[in-house]
């Protein structure tokens, strides 16, 4: 027992050291920073004085319309992006898993490939594809009578969602596909013998059996969405589009720190965003955890019946 404790300590120490150095300390530092503001006097050319301002930075962030609007953007993003992503990835995984699919390996790789492109590069490529004078896509759309400005205030959200979908669809499809492959084939054979068609099997057997993966992907996607940053930043920097520098809360913190030199405000905004993420993850895990317990119950009941 003692030896095991020692082994555990030795094996866990590197993790906790790194965890402390790159997570706990910076978080503590951010909280500390968020309690101070740099004040100046006169015309402001006499240097700064760091003053303890308590929760002022938090009220300033919450009182700033731009910051609140950032959460609104995130909400809109999640409402469209998450269902589209889950449905798309699951649909593709089911197609690959079905008997119909040919060249399975090829499609698996082809669909996964966009994920291998780093977010920044993907965003840059999409900026090119969105730019009216340059893009073959926009030109083809115009030729077909569809005029859509991807950089306009209405176009900004769909533009970003589209980029994110391409990036993450294949990745999540692989997760779902792996879960589908893990299903015991005899269950599927039994369903076939009972006369269930492909649709029926997909909806009544396969999807219920991969619910756990669905919940996990959902959770990761929610957390990932809250941190939306790279793609909108690229659309903000190089295009003159309607994506503002404070479009998402993460961008708000970035702009506060690096365009406005207000590290206190940036820290406060980051802490608020982190709290939101923590609350949401807690809610999602609780919710899906309960449902999982529920489905397990029904399964047992069905078996006894």
């Amino acid at each position: 027992m003692k030896a095991r404790t020692r082994a555990a300590t030795i094996l866990l120490t590197p993790f906790f050291l790194l965890f402390t150095a790159v997570m706990v300390v910076p978080i503590g530092y951010a909280v500390w920073l968020s309690l101070f503001t740099e004040k100046q006097s006169g015309l402001g050319f006499g240097g700064t004085e760091t003053v303890f301002t308590g929760l002022d930075n938090y009220t300033a962030a919450l009182g700033d319309r731009a910051f609140r609007e950032g959460f609104g953007v995130l909400l809109g993003y999640c409402l469209f992006y998450i269902p589209l992503l889950l449905a798309g990835a699951l649909g593709l995984a089911l197609l690959l898993d079905s008997a119909l699919a040919r060249a399975r390996r090829f499609f698996q790789l082809a669909l996964f490939l966009p994920h291998a492109v780093p977010g920044i590069i993907a965003a840059l490529i999409w900026v090119y594809l969105y730019t009216p004078q340059l893009s073959p896509v926009v030109q083809a759309m115009e030729a077909g009578g569809i005029g859509f400005d991807f950089f306009s205030p209405e176009g900004a959200l769909p533009s970003i969602i589209n980029i994110a979908l391409w990036e993450w669809l294949g990745y999540n499809m692989v997760i779902f596909y792996a879960a589908l492959q893990a299903i015991d084939r005899s269950v599927l054979e039994a369903a076939t013998v009972d006369g269930a068609g492909a649709w029926r099997i997909a909806f009544s057997v396969k999807i219920p059996l991969v619910k756990a993966s669905l919940a996990m992907v959902g959770l990761f996607t929610v957390i990932g969405s809250l941190q939306l940053f790279t793609e909108p930043l690229i659309l903000n920097k190089g295009t003159g589009s309607a994506v503002t520098s404070t479009w998402t809360p993460n961008m708000y913190a970035y702009t506060a720190a690096f365009d406005r030199n207000d590290y206190g405000l940036a820290a406060a905004a980051s802490v608020l965003l982190a709290l939101t993420a923590a609350l949401l993850s807690f809610a999602v895990t609780r919710l899906t955890g309960r449902r999982k317990a529920g489905t397990a119950g029904t399964a047992r009941r069905e078996r006894t019946a």
């Binding site: 050319f45 004078q133 340059l134 920097k237 190089g238 520098s245 702009t255 406005r260």
Partner: protein, 438 residues
């Protein structure tokens, strides 16, 4: 977990490294301690065209000071963030490039040191007074001005002739010319409104005589609703509404693309733009010409668009060496020649005596041998001396840029963007504890 936290951790790591390095050096890097033959090595961060060539030339001709040059992204593209972070982390380079518009922001955040002792009154007298004014804040000298950036209008000589359009000297004539261009070729426009770059618009307001930031006693007076700004705002809104100019991001692929295929036939820029065009569109050699900026009354008038200065960071212990190098770049024949001879820079030196040197070093065959430096000279003298930048340019410009992006037919316009910038500026100054009116 969030982006800024990982940045924070980097800042901490940076600080730790810097501390370690400092202790290891044990004060060996100090100017006064360095009396031996060992050269003083300073680090310089910049992005201006030709910087590398200048540094190489300096290192080759100096034994007492050696410069290590590190290229960073241009200021608003991330360079300023990098500098602020480095200063915060305590591992900043000795000398940095800062544009006039951002200098007050860096001064007010305490990132720089006063160089008045090294860069003396006599040195400053050699430079364009407007640039000295822009680098003197609160009675102290904060930077060595390098170039003045008088505005200029670049246009396609061949296409202007083909469309029978006269080069406009007033803004009224400019609008008429814009209409003619559009009529001659439905796809072509005379120039571009840059929604991503408020400084181009601010230079227009500056040219018209606006004074957005005024320091009076201990109070900042913010005024963006004066007659000049109102006039410029209405004028550009009119051009946009009538579709007489393109609306593209500056230096974006779409802007460059439209220059390449001749659907943008003019560029309202500044002196340094001559080198940029030459570098971006080498195949249009001989097709471009430069004209003074159109003005409101036909008399020469100019704002300033960009323009770089060199400043010494707060913690640098090699201030004297850094200023020596900065002065060499800005005020010596060798320094200016090395930069311009690199081929891509058309900088207009703040030092009057060096303009003939710059002129000689710049190959103007791209502009059909036109004497563009004489034009910059006249334009530079007409730069309105009233304009000053405030200590919150970051906030002001980011806000205006955000709102420029939302400009739409029948929707919000330029005036809304300027108003938003105004409000954000006042709020930011107030938050910092400064007195504001406006």
């Amino acid at each position: 977990m969030t982006r800024s936290w990982s940045r924070t951790s980097r800042v901490i790591a940076g600080t730790a490294t810097a501390l370690a390095v400092l202790t290891a050096c044990g004060g060996g890097g100090d100017d006064t301690a360095n009396k031996s033959n060992e050269p003083v090595t300073i680090t310089f961060w910049g992005w201006a065209k030709g910087s590398k060539d200048v540094v190489d030339a300096f290192n080759a001709s100096h034994t007492d000071i050696q410069v290590k040059f590190e290229e960073i992204p241009s200021g608003t593209a991330g360079g300023y963030a990098k500098i602020s972070n480095a200063v915060k982390a305590g591992n900043a380079p000795d000398l940095v490039s800062i544009e006039y518009s951002s200098l007050p922001e860096f001064v007010s955040s305490g990132a720089l040191q006063d160089i008045g002792g090294e860069f003396t009154e006599a040195d400053r007298a050699k430079l364009l007074p407007q640039t000295v004014e822009l680098t003197t804040l609160g009675g102290k000298t904060w930077a060595v001005p390098f170039d003045a950036a008088p505005q200029a209008f670049f246009y396609r000589k061949d296409l202007f002739a083909k469309y029978k359009v006269e080069v406009p000297t007033t803004w009224d004539a400019f609008r008429k010319a814009a209409e003619q261009v559009k009529k001659a070729d439905a796809k072509a426009r005379i120039a571009t409104f840059f929604p991503d770059d408020p400084t181009t618009f601010e230079a227009m307001a500056w040219q018209a005589g606006a004074q957005w930031f005024k320091a009076e006693n201990d109070t900042w007076k913010i005024d963006t609703t004066d007659a000049a700004t109102t006039k410029v705002t209405a004028y550009w809104q009119g051009l946009l509404d009538a579709g007489l100019v393109h609306k593209n991001a500056s230096f974006s692929p779409e802007w460059t693309g439209s220059l390449k295929n001749g659907t943008t036939i003019g560029y309202l820029g500044a002196s340094w733009g001559a080198g940029v065009l030459k570098g971006t569109l080498p195949e249009q050699n001989g097709k471009w010409a430069v004209a003074p900026m159109p003005s409101w009354d036909g008399k020469p008038a100019s704002g300033m668009l960009g323009g770089t200065s060199f400043a010494v960071t707060k913690d640098s212990k090699r201030k004297a060496a850094a200023v020596t190098f900065a002065e060499w770049m800005s005020t010596t024949e060798d320094g200016v020649k090395a930069r311009i001879a690199s081929g891509t820079s058309s900088a207009f030196p703040a030092a009057a005596a060096l303009r003939p040197v710059a002129k000689k070093a710049f190959d103007a065959s791209y502009y059909g041998g036109q004497d563009i430096y004489a034009l910059f000279e006249a334009s530079g003298a007409s730069i309105s001396p009233n304009w000053a930048w405030g200590p919150t340019t970051g906030t002001t410009n980011t806000t205006i840029k955000d709102h420029f992006g939302k400009i739409a037919q029948g929707g919000p316009g330029i005036a809304d963007a300027v108003k938003a910038g105004h409000d954000a500026t006042v709020a930011e100054l107030t938050k910092r504890g400064l007195k504001v009116e406006g």
